[in-house]
Symmetry: C2
Subunit: 365 residues, 2 copies
C-alpha cells in the first residue's frame, strides 16, 4: 500500500509525498519510462543521481518478454530484475494493446490481440492485467481501461466509459496483494463526460486517480482546458496522475492545475534523437553550430553530462552514432525533467507556484 | 615524456610502471580502444572503475571527424574532449589507411587515400601523422609504419621494412613536442626479418617499442612463436607493446614473453555482440540457458555489471536490443581484461608468473 500526504497547497498545486514499500517519493514528480525493464541507456544509479524517485514499467512489453511469470519466479520482482530499489508503477497494458489497431479484438471480457513480436494470440483483461502487474511486483498498479480511438461520438465515448468503469471495478476485485491501485478517468475532451466518468471512478475508491486519453492527438488547448477543469475535482487526498504527458510546459501547466505525477517517453526518446531540453528551450545537438561549442548543454544544469562534457563532444558523439550519445543525452533530459518537477515542488512549498510558468517560458504551448 | 621502470622480472615477464603527464600506469596493462573519442558505451568514470589506466585513440578516425585541429582548438586535447584525465596513446593511422585497399595509394612520401566517410581525398605521411597525434595531445604517439598485405614475399617484406624504417626515422624528426614516441617493428612471422627490423628500429632510440603486423590473419602458432622469440630481444628498459592483440590467452602468453602493453577491440566489440569473457571461458549471453539464470556473469568478478545484475536480465536486455546491454556487457569485458593484466602483474611481483596460464585455461590457443 501507499500513503499520500499533501504537505502544502498553493492555488490548485500541491506539494506532497507518496510513501511506498520501496521508499518515499516527493511530488510533483516525473516517472521515466522503462518500457522493457530498462530506461533506455540509463543505469539505475544514474536515474537516482538525476533525481528520479519512481520508474514506470510497461505491462504489455514485459508480459510478452520476458513474461511476468519469469520475472516473478526468477527475480521475485521487476525491481530486482532491473536493479532499481525505488518504487515502480506499471501501466495496465491497455494503451499499447488498443494501439495495435486491427491486431486486436475487444469484447466485454477483455481484449484479444496478436503479439507484435511473434504474432502469437494473447489476451488481456482487467483480471489478467492485475495478475501480471502483481507478478511484476509493482508498488502502484494501474486499472485496465478502454482507450477509445479518437475522434468518436459522445455515444461511443459514453459506451466506452461505461465499459471502462465495469473493467476498473473488476480490477479492484481482482487485486490479491496489497499494492496500490489507481483508477483512470476517461471522457475525451468533453467536460461533462469527464465529470461524469470521474464521479463513477471516484466512487470506486482507488488509491490514486489518473487522467487517461489525453495527449493522444487532441488540440493542446483542449488538453489544457480538460486538465484545468477536471484535475481540481479529482479526490484531494489521493495522488493525481496525468498519463503520457508531456512537454515541459505541459508539466508546469498541469502541476498548476493540481496534477502530482507524470510519465512520458519524451525525455528519453528525444534524447536518442539528439534533442535536449534546457531552460532556454530545446537544442538539437547535431546542429553544426555546436561543433566547436565548449559550453555544457545548460550552464545551470548539474547533471553528469553537463558537469563532464561539452556540447562539441556531444555533437561529435551524436554525429558518429556513438552509444554514449544516447546515454549522455538521456541522462541530461531526465535530469531536466526531474529538476523541473523538483523546482515546481519548491515553488509550491514557498507559495510561489505561479512563478513556475517562467521556468518554461522558452517552450510554446 | 614518459618514464618507464621495471619493478620486477620473472622469467621474461616484467611488472613495471609507465609514468606519464596524465598519471602512472602499472604494467602489464590493456588499453581499451576509443576509436572515435569514446570507448563505445562506457563512460570515463566507468573505465576507471574497471581498472583502466590508459586509453587508445584512433588517429585515422579522429583526423577525419572531428578533425585534429578542431580537437586542439576547441578542447586543447583529446583528454579534455572525452573527459578522460588519464594517459592516451594514439595509433599512427597507418593500419586503418592500409586497410582501405584500393582506396589508397602508397608513395615514398606517404599514403594518399579517400575517406570512408565522404570519399574526400586525404593524405597521411610520417610528418602528418605525428602532427595529428601531437594536436590530439596524446601522451604516447606511435610511429607511422607500412603494414604490408599478407602473404607477401621476403623481398616485398624487406622493401616494406626498409620503407618503414625510413618513415619511422622521419617521425622522430617530425616530433615537435615532448610526447613519447614508440617505434614499431615489422617483419611478419619470419624470425630473421623481425630480428633485422628490430635492430634497425631499436637503433633509432624510441621511447618504447611495439610489435606490429601480428594478429592480422597469420596462424596463432606463428604469432606466439614470433612474440616469444622477439619480445625478449626488444630494448629491456622501454615499454613493449603488442598491437591489436588479442584474446585472454594471447595476453597471458605474450606477457610471459615480456610484453607490457596491449590494445584490442575484442572486449568491447564482442560485448556488443553478447559475448562475455569469464575465467571459465566465453559466454554468449543471448543463449536460452541464461533466460532464468540469477547468477552474475562471473561470481568472482567485482565489476559493476556483476555486482548489480543477473545473467537473466542481461539476456533479456540483449534479446530486446536495449542500449544497456552494450553498456553493461562492455563494462564487464573491459573489467575482465584489466583484471587479467592486473592479476598477471601480481603474479609477476610474487615470482609466480608461469601460473598465469591457469587464468586462461578455459581458452584454447
Amino acid at each position: 500500500m501507499i500513503r499520500f500526504t499533501v504537505e502544502k497547497r498553493d492555488g490548485n498545486s500541491r506539494a506532497g509525498i507518496i510513501e511506498t514499500p520501496h521508499g518515499a517519493v516527493p511530488t510533483p514528480t516525473f516517472m521515466p519510462v522503462g518500457t522493457k525493464g530498462s530506461v533506455k541507456g540509463v543505469l539505475p544509479q544514474q536515474l537516482r543521481e538525476a533525481g528520479v524517485g519512481i520508474v514506470l514499467g510497461n505491462t504489455y512489453h514485459l508480459f510478452l518478454r520476458p513474461g511476468h511469470e519469469l520475472v516473478r519466479e526468477t527475480f521475485g520482482s521487476l525491481h530486482r530484475m532491473i536493479g532499481w530499489d525505488g518504487p515502480i508503477l506499471t501501466d495496465s497494458g491497455g494503451f499499447q494493446v488498443f494501439s495495435l489497431g486491427p491486431l486486436r479484438k475487444i469484447t466485454e471480457e477483455g481484449v484479444e490481440f496478436r503479439s507484435h513480436l511473434d504474432g502469437s494470440k494473447q489476451f488481456l483483461s482487467p483480471e489478467r492485467s492485475i495478475e501480471i502487474q502483481e507478478a511484476l511486483g509493482a508498488d502502484i498498479l494501474m486499472a485496465f481501461d478502454e482507450c477509445p480511438a479518437l475522434p468518436c461520438s459522445d455515444d461511443e465515448m459514453v459506451a466506452s466509459m461505461e465499459r471502462t468503469t465495469r473493467w476498473e471495478s473488476r480490477c479492484l476485485d481482482a487485486r490479491k496483494g496489497d499494492a496500490a491501485l489507481f483508477g483512470i478517468v476517461q471522457g475525451g475532451v468533453s467536460e461533462s463526460l469527464r465529470r461524469k466518468h470521474l464521479a463513477e471512478i471516484a466512487a470506486l475508491n482507488f488509491d490514486g486517480y489518473a487522467l487517461g486519453g489525453l495527449s493522444v492527438g487532441e488540440a493542446k488547448e483542449d488538453m489544457y482546458r480538460t486538465v484545468a477543469t477536471i484535475a481540481p475535482l479529482m479526490p484531494d487526498d489521493r495522488p493525481r496522475y496525468l498519463m503520457g504527458v508531456g512537454t515541459p510546459r505541459d508539466l508546469v501547466t498541469a502541476i498548476l492545475s493540481g496534477i502530482d505525477m507524470f510519465d512520458c517517453v519524451m525525455p528519453t526518446r528525444n534524447a536518442r534523437n539528439g534533442q535536449l531540453f534546457t531552460r532556454s528551450g530545446t537544442m538539437n545537438i547535431k546542429n553544426k553550430e555546436f561543433e566547436r561549442d565548449t559550453r555544457p548543454i545548460d550552464e545551470r544544469c548539474s547533471c553528469l553530462t553537463c558537469r563532464s562534457f561539452a556540447r562539441a563532444y556531444l555533437n561529435h558523439l551524436y554525429r558518429n552514432g556513438e552509444i554514449l550519445a544516447a546515454v549522455l543525452n538521456s541522462i541530461h533530459n531526465i535530469h531536466y525533467y526531474l529538476d523541473l518537477t523538483a523546482t515546481m515542488r519548491r515553488l509550491i512549498l514557498e507559495g510561489r507556484a505561479a512563478e513556475g510558468i517562467g521556468l518554461v517560458a522558452a517552450y510554446d504551448r
